[in-house]
């Protein structure tokens, strides 16, 4: 078992003529937390979505836990993966979205149990138990039977985290998880993520929360214009940035 969970080599992604990712090379080790920073339009969300194949890359290589994303390699050729296999790999990667994307027609509990019974074929009791355990862990014990509309943004996002964790993922992707939240609700979500990081989960977090990155991240990556401008430990990238672009971005954000 290799130590590398996610490896990207020269990853390119374009929409028509618009080149969004122009050669991303980076790696995330098992149990590590990487924070992706950068101005909007820098490609950080797109890169995150490539990791669980919500977006298809156009060039380069991208692998999770030693296996290529979206393809299978054999006798020097790449074969596109069947939808079934893509789905099987996705279940091992949890994703949390900026806009929560909870299922509005289900209660918080049903949101967390659905994929457990549908995808992992757990029994209703098993799924229920696991869901209550997770909702308890994110501090929403008493919200199990509420529909998302009755929850605050911060509570919805914590349900979304529980929903992703219910699949027992080996990697968690966070796409600006606190950007749509009122300032006073951000803290609760970051607390949950901090605990998750402490428990040893491998995490890639696209965020504008510099304080969180400084405290929790093992590696901070600063992206701009579809390339990695700078990466390293938070003390270096955030404390003593080498590039002018990083410095000017941090000056505006902090």
């Amino acid at each position: 078992m290799s130590d590398v969970m996610v490896r990207a080599e020269g990853v390119h992604k374009r929409y028509g003529a618009n080149e969004v990712l122009r050669g991303i090379t980076l790696s995330v080790n098992r149990g590590q937390v990487m924070c992706l920073l950068g101005p909007s339009g820098s490609g950080k969300s797109t890169f995150l979505r490539c990791i669980n194949h919500l977006e298809q890359i156009n060039a380069g290589r991208l692998s999770v836990d030693g296996e290529l994303v979206g393809y299978r390699e054999g006798n020097g050729k790449l074969y596109e993966l069947h939808e079934r296999d893509v789905a099987r790999k996705r279940r091992e990667i949890g994703m949390v979205f900026q806009s929560f994307n909870l299922f509005p027609h289900m209660t918080a509990l049903e949101n967390v149990t659905l994929a457990q019974t549908q995808v992992l074929k757990r029994s209703r009791e098993q799924a229920d138990r696991r869901a209550r355990e997770l909702l308890d862990r994110v501090g929403l014990t008493d919200k199990c039977d509420q529909h998302p509309v009755a929850l605050s943004g911060g509570q919805q996002q914590r349900v979304a985290i529980a929903r992703a964790l219910a699949m027992d993922p080996k990697l968690m992707l966070f796409d600006e998880p606190t950007s749509a939240l009122d300032p006073e609700l951000v803290g609760d979500v970051l607390d949950v993520m901090r605990d998750l990081a402490k428990s040893g989960m491998t995490m890639i977090v696209v965020t504008h929360e510099i304080g969180f990155a400084r405290e929790v991240a093992d590696t901070v990556v600063f992206m701009d214009g579809g390339v990695v401008v700078e990466s390293g430990p938070p003390a270096e990238v955030l404390g003593a940035p080498k590039h002018e672009r990083t410095r000017s971005f941090l000056a505006k954000v902090l």
Binding site: A87, N101, M106, A164, M167
Partner: protein
């Protein structure tokens, strides 16, 4: 800072304003005119016209009429089931990435929505003429391959079957557009969230997209069902004994045409009223999770309307 008083100056609620309302004379005159015309119409119908009221009462529960009501409900319900099933299939085909499935669905909708329902019903009734004599057998089996069964077209396509095919296939084209609108109304984030949990395309459609699309699909579907109840009357062209056909049959003997038309109109209104109530409950179920104050019952809503709060 010290100047701003944070506590309310008086703990009691002040008296409501009492003012003399504006006199709206135009509104009164308009209401008076409408009332006058309505009264004269009602007077004509009740007192002056030759309407034989007792005939309406006499035929309202005539066994021939009530049997036709049952047939109407049966025909409408069966055709609607076919229409909805076809609609879902056609909508999914229309939204599929395959250009062939997309085109076939488009052509179906184009043809069945673009030709009169009356023509379609008559066409299905006469379809047997397209199958070769002497036995008019229909080969049903694998396309271009062996046929598995050979029913006789005249026996298979009865009047009832022709009516169901005509109404159901036509409904499928309309339902396809309604279902498609419902599916595309569900935000893409929902599909992405479900996909990121490892759910398959079918699971996502069944568990995530369609249940949410229902909220958009149900109101126009209720409309469609009400249209369907009334459109069953078109089956009279192929001599299906639905309400209109039976009413005309009775009237051809006793010549009480207006009275019998009122009899069947009362029945159509009764059927559509039941459909309204059904639609209300289905919509309430589909609306779960969309509004914080969704739990108002029908009774509470009526009370709210009565007291002018909405």
């Amino acid at each position: 800072m010290g100047d701003i008083e944070l506590t309310p100056s008086s703990p009691e609620r002040p008296d409501d304003i009492k003012a003399v309302p504006v006199r709206r004379y135009g509104r009164w005159i308009a209401a008076l005119i409408v009332l006058l015309f309505s009264a004269s119409f009602v007077r004509f119908v009740i007192a002056d016209s030759a309407m034989k009221w007792n005939i309406i009462g006499q035929y309202l529960f005539d066994p021939r009429i009530t049997a036709a009501v049952v047939r109407v409900v049966y025909l409408a319900a069966l055709s609607m089931v076919i229409g909805v099933a076809l609609g879902v299939i056609l909508a999914v085909m229309r939204l599929s990435p395959s250009p062939i499935l997309k085109t076939v669905s488009w052509i179906y909708i184009f043809v069945f929505r673009g030709t009169p329902l009356l023509v379609q019903i008559t066409f299905w009734y006469n379809i047997a003429a397209l199958f070769p004599l002497p036995h008019r057998l229909i080969d049903i089996g694998i396309p271009f391959g062996p046929a598995l069964v050979h029913p006789n077209a005249n026996q298979l396509i009865t009047i009832f079957v022709a009516a169901v095919l005509g109404l159901g296939f036509n409904e499928g084209a309309y339902m396809a557009e309604i279902v498609r609108a419902g599916i595309i109304s569900v935000p893409e984030g929902q599909t992405e969230a479900a996909a990121s949990l490892g759910m398959s395309r079918l699971q996502i459609m069944r568990r995530i997209v369609l249940p949410q699309a229902m909220r958009v699909i149900l109101p126009p579907t209720g409309n469609e069902f009400i249209s369907m109840l009334k459109n069953t009357s078109l089956a009279q062209v192929i001599a299906y004994a639905e309400l209109y056909f039976v009413a005309e049959d009775i009237a051809s003997v006793n010549f009480d045409v207006p009275q019998l038309l009122i009899v069947i109109s009362i029945w159509y209104l009764a059927l559509t009223s039941v459909a309204y109530v059904g639609q209300y409950f289905l919509e309430r179920k589909a609306g779960q999770g969309y509004s914080r104050s969704q739990n108002a019952t029908m009774r509470e809503r009526w009370l709210a309307v009565g007291s002018g709060r909405r």
